[in-house]
Symmetry: C2
Subunit: 813 residues, 2 copies
């Protein structure tokens, strides 16, 4: 175990005393005790479930102070408290086990190996003040199961025993789990938007699920976590699968154009809106409709136990809302901001879809944060770019910043990894959950069929070009409007929402006067708030306590600007100053010094062709968005049908480690023997090694508690593969040879003529130890992402005029 | 979807009216309404979360009555209710979706295809009485997510709206989810056993976790589900792994003996017990120690919402209890029965480990059922064989009936699938969770080391023989004592606790005057209470309502005696009258008519030898307790290192389907060229086919609700493989050639001398469609289960005097 805690706020003694008093560890009965008696008293206060003194004493006998005496025996006689004794007890309170995790003879070494924060301001013998200081630090230290000891105690009922806690309790700058989640109020409202996407002459009402602490009924005003999730109301999986596009066809030749950006620029036209509903003059304080628990984002649940409200809304075209799905256009953005405006007191909602009785968010303090991953993260970015008032911050995970970068690339249809054949229309159909209410669907079906046909047409799979449809779905255009502080989280192995999405947003935010924090992990399309090695949840608590509750806790300073998980050493996080602003090194593709096998021909060729049987064999089994057998043949197998379909450039083994920091650029001079051309480039880490597993491993099931008798999550961490693997994809990129200038300008492609092609691979942050080799594969059809005509096009590469350029964290010279 | 519901109790109209009244679907306000108004009123009562009449009317508009009118419009004018209209609404209430699941033009066909119970007592037009009868049936019908509609409504708060329900509510013979699980009381007691396994001069106190409804405080006496689970207090995984035995060594030659059973029979000697604790004269009604939620067996949680108490206890040697682990001996049995006796008012417990204040189970009605799987199921069988008063029934899943059948077979060490090298000592160490309390461990360590060494010695891995150690752990000896009605659940592909365990218990129970119900599923070591296709949970409700609450609900008649999941058709359950009493057919191993490739030699040979590299390659990746590459080479690959290590006998393709019902018997005449010999026989279903997947697939995550705002489970079902597989293991068996008579009598083995060997494979129930082939593989070292010396022994088989005999469900002639 390696622990990284960034959310600890250094605290002076008077404040320590004040906070230990607020949290009821300290009071008149124990504040004057000598060190040993004080420590005994503090430990007994943690024994929440032992409700008699006799049972607490028995529990003390279960703890060892050193390798020969238990705590009951130790505390029986007045003794000095040695530092090692304190940390032996501390390790046990943190659920570490003697023998398996540490030795009673030397707790300090283990403590330091685990990177737990240590109190070192004392001599080896603790005075009472040392006990207080060390105890305070201990309450803020992570247990074996990745939560602070205080959170662990809260989960065991520490705060539940004090029934008079009815408002947020701040400890070390973070809000604590003192709210009774059994009493949460769950109600439904219908927010009136400035949209009429289903053109029924009435503004679209958007259903929202509100979960708020019971204490709001007694007047507490609370901050809100809002998750805009089109999936929450159900998905039409069968209909979505039926709509999924066939990709086993050649790319089309495109007529050249002379487009500039203005030709493809989109300007949102809200059109003439129907009048607002006037209601019947009544305003209710409580909803007519309620709902049951049923959502699982543990970060939201964590904050529900800490006195925040949580709101979910699925947006236009979802079950119980009006309107039609659009897959990411401004109407969906306004679906999200409408909810925020209602939460900020600036918009009307009703108690049912008749729209007669109004209801306000009277319990809201008007400070809203957004949370969620993937589409849910995307809508955060979308909402933030409107500059909507009330939205203080986003915790945007695995978010799309431009839908073109999700479904397209450089003039090509390029699928999200694992979702071959999906497109904007498929996603629209999947999330059009109005379909699940038979009556509602009956009334809207004709309009929906029209809308879906329009999306299918405008997304234009034939050309793969950037156009007005995609420009309307490019949030990067409006980053300058962002007023919310942004937390960006993304997986460096996320081939679904690829890393370019977060990279472009991160870079664009540099010129916007908000605070941005970037977290890059080694996972795919996952959450990271259940990792053992990083106090991500604590940091988000620090962050939201600052942004929403206004606590002066130095969140902006304590949370590192850039936190990146190491891909070589498990449970390790790096803190570079920035991402992607680095040195670089260029390798020519005919460089005999750099490459292991420079080609004997100056212009080697490959033939993009597979039989139907080969294609079907390779695409039979998909795992994690990749076809393993194909990848293995592509990179590791010289005797396979793939051999002749690609060119491989392999560097000599590295004589020192390197860290690739940002976007690898590929400059190629290539010819196609047809009037179409599709180029893929894959960069690979080559060499037998135990790398991180693709997904984090469960270290302890259901070990993380969001609160007392509340939802649980499993503790996870990336671990090393059990057996060495020969290689791993680092990054990838694709280009239509007719889009040599950009994604909307189409150039002619003359067969057998050489063209200069230049494109960037997905940005990364990747360390290769010494001895590894870098492999660049140049090929055409990418079975997992591009259309796969595999139609017999021959490509030639001029290696004398081709190279790739690697951005490096450290100066290569 | 195919629905099998056995727990429905046929009910007459007066009782229907009474039960609909009790559950508040019927009262003075609606009992006189005509059919359409009654139906509208009933549907509106299901709309629990719509709390105003306006919102309920809006919700009605979301339901379609037929393909052109919604329910709001339909009910506006007085209309007759057609049968198809009722079932259109019914399908929607059961969460089936128009278009994806059914068509509004023909709901009846879908209803019948899904095998949902239909009300067919009416003409096509429903009168009010028909509505009542059909509604009652509908409330008992499973939704798309595998629960009755009434359970689904309960999960949505149907009963929670009636706050005055404070005692069990019976509907259709089953107890309903009317209890508020937010208010469960969780407390800890220490039961004094009649044991002193740690020889400290004090009877072992056994900690138990009690969860009981708050209503017990007001005088409600409740039945108890008790789960004896040695794992609940944590496991010592690292220490267990360290103790795991090396299996890469040859089997040992054994000195012949003349043992009869009396030589290995064990007689439990409780020894002289210390006096009982007298206490301090005080008796408490409430505990001193409490605990948090944290266990996950969903069947127990389901009953917590229905007014049962649940008790967990881990037994001797576990954390917070006294004593030492023994792996299955009578002390562990008495650990379990001690808790039952306390629950039945016949034994003393204390509020803490000092043993001064007594506490009774004053809230118990003294009726106890046991639940749980694996070790947890095993301890049910163990407890039942004592005939302990209070134990009314067991729901024993994947249980061991004799520990020799778990760790040994016919004179050989044979591992549970997936746990090579595990043995009784390893399991004892893993479950000795006193080790996790540093103080407690410090005081007990020396005694534990002694105990563990004794187990290691007595289990006798060297011989693999049945002895007194194993006889003390054979519950089959005392089946005649069983007084509890028994539900036995086992996986036909459970290679961890192998099917012989349940088979032997099932057969032995036939002569015991209790009711036994047998469920055999196609899974491995799993629970089945989350399957879509079978109402297992409902049946258990019917069962426990009968056995514990005394409800006269025909449980004994309605639950089939034997329910077996089909291995060919997903979601299908067969109801044979019995298991393993069947016809049979013998195939000689030189039968040229039956076998595809009879051997040209009369005495073919195989050499049990693999290099270290081959062994290490084959055992590198284990999945589901099997080494796939080895299995594939064993059965399907004539060009592998395995080729010469086994003999294969393959039948001609079957000209009609057969169902193997029970134990395949193998009769072999064999010689070994050493003075040791190890024979394995594997029976295989051969032929390309899409078989059931190894594990059930998740159909809908977290879709099953144990109650209102309570724990959830995922809906699962076995689905077919995406791609055909060439073969599948049906069953397996192993024999030490020195144990030709039985598992304790050792015979001499002369090298190169032929001996008659006869042994049974694990019992099964397996259908082979026409066209498939049966394969019998005769080999020696079983990489997944036996020790693996692979030491170069050559075996000869006399095919003219060898055969296998297949038990068949239907007469083969």
């Amino acid at each position: 175990m390696k622990n990284h805690q960034f959310a600890f706020v250094p605290t002076e003694l008077p404040q320590i005393v004040a906070e230990l008093t607020t949290t009821r560890f300290l009071d008149a009965s124990n504040e004057q005790l000598p060190a040993d008696e004080l420590l005994k008293d503090l430990i007994k206060r943690t024994l929440v479930n032992y409700r008699s003194d006799a049972s607490k004493e028995i529990a003390l006998a279960d703890l060892m102070v050193d390798d020969h005496q238990d705590a009951r025996a130790f505390f029986k006689e007045h003794q000095s408290v040695e530092r090692t004794q304190f940390y032996n007890l501390a390790l046990q309170l943190l659920h570490f086990q003697t023998n398996e995790d540490f030795k009673l003879s030397d707790p300090i070494t283990t403590w330091q190996q685990f990177q737990l924060p240590i109190y070192d301001g004392a001599k080896t013998t603790f005075e009472a003040e040392d006990v207080l200081r060390a105890w305070y630090l201990l309450l803020n230290t992570h247990t074996k199961f990745g939560q602070t000891l205080l959170d662990d105690l809260a989960a065991n009922g520490y705060f539940a025993q004090f029934s008079d806690l009815k408002q947020p309790l701040i400890f070390n700058g973070k809000t604590q789990a003192v709210f009774n989640t059994d009493h949460l109020i769950r109600e439904v409202v219908y927010v009136e938007s400035d949209l009429d996407t289903d053109h029924d002459g009435k503004r679209d009402l958007l259903m929202a699920h509100v979960i708020r602490p019971a204490e709001t009924e007694a007047g507490l005003k609370v901050s809100v976590l809002f998750t805009a999730s089109p999936y929450d109301q159900g998905t039409n999986d069968i209909a979505g699968a039926q709509l999924t596009h066939n990709v086993d066809h050649p790319i089309a030749h495109k007529e050249p154009n002379q487009f500039s950006y203005s030709d493809v620029e989109s300007h949102y036209q809200p059109g003439n809106l129907p009048a607002k509903r006037t209601g019947n003059g009544k305003t209710a304080t409580h909803a007519e409709e309620h709902f049951q628990n049923g959502w699982g984002y543990t970060l939201n649940n964590y904050f529900l136990a800490r006195g925040f409200a949580v709101v979910y809304s699925a947006g236009v075209g979802t079950k119980d809302s009006d309107g039609l799905r659009t897959t990411g256009d401004p109407a969906e953005t306004l679906s999200a901001t409408a909810i925020i405006e209602w939460l900020a007191g600036k918009r009307t909602a009703f108690t049912n879809r008749n729209g007669d009785v109004k209801i306000t968010a009277w319990w809201s303090n008007h400070n809203v944060a957004m949370t969620g991953r993937s589409y849910l993260g995307t809508l955060q970015t979308a909402a933030a770019t409107t500059g909507v008032a009330g939205l203080k911050t986003c915790i945007s995970e695995a978010a799309i910043s431009s839908w073109y970068d999700y479904y397209r690339e450089n003039g090509l249809v390029v699928a999200p990894g694992g979702f071959q054949g999906e497109d904007a229309d498929v996603l629209a159909e999947e999330t059009f959950s109005r379909e699940q209410r038979a009556g509602d669907y009956h009334r809207i079906k004709a309009k929906w069929d029209q809308q879906l046909a329009a999306i299918t047409s405008h997304q234009d799979r034939r050309s793969g070009n950037y156009n007005q449809f995609w420009d309307a779905r490019n949030y990067l255009k409006a980053v300058a409007n962002i007023k919310a502080d942004m937390v960006l989280v993304h997986g460096l192995n996320d081939w679904n929402v690829k890393p370019r999405n977060v990279y472009n947003l991160y870079q664009a935010l540099k010129s916007v006067p908000v605070t941005t924090k970037l977290f890059l992990h080694q996972g795919q399309h996952i959450y990271i708030n259940n990792f053992q090695s990083l106090d991500f949840t604590d940091m988000m608590n620090l962050w939201l306590s600052n942004k929403l509750l206004g606590i002066d806790n130095h969140a902006n300073d304590l949370i590192p600007p850039v936190t990146i998980q190491d891909n070589v050493n498990p449970g390790t996080w790096q803190l570079p100053a920035d991402w992607g602003t680095s040195h670089s090194k260029t390798i020519q593709l005919n460089d005999a010094k750099a490459l292991q096998q420079p080609f004997d021909q100056a212009t080697p060729a490959f033939l993009d062709q597979l039989s139907h049987e080969q294609l079907s064999q390779y695409t039979k089994h998909e795992s994690s968005g990749q076809y393993d057998e194909w990848f293995n043949d592509l990179v590791n197998n010289p005797n396979s049908p793939i051999e002749s379909t690609r060119l491989i450039f392999k560097t000599k083994p590295l004589d020192h480690p390197i860290t690739i920091d940002g976007k690898v650029k590929v400059d190629l001079t290539m010819a196609s023997d047809h009037n179409v051309g599709l180029v893929s480039a894959m960069l690979i880490d080559y060499g037998d090694a135990k790398r991180l597993n693709v997904s984090p491993s469960v270290l302890a099931p259901n070990a993380i508690n969001a609160g007392y008798q509340w939802t649980k999550d499993s503790l996870k961490e990336f671990t090393l593969q059990a057996n060495p693997s020969p290689s791993k994809m680092i990054s990838i990129g694709h280009l239509n040879m007719q889009n040599r200038q950009n994604s909307y300008r189409v150039n002619e492609l003359e067969p057998n003529q050489y063209y200069d092609l230049s494109f960037e691979l997905q940005p990364t942050f990747y360390t290769l130890p010494a001895g590894r080799q870098l492999v660049l594969v140049i090929y055409a059809t990418d079975l997992a992402m591009t259309v796969r005509g595999t139609m017999g096009v021959t490509y030639h590469l001029n290696t004398t005029q081709s190279s790739f350029t690697i951005p490096l964290l450290h100066n290569p010279d």
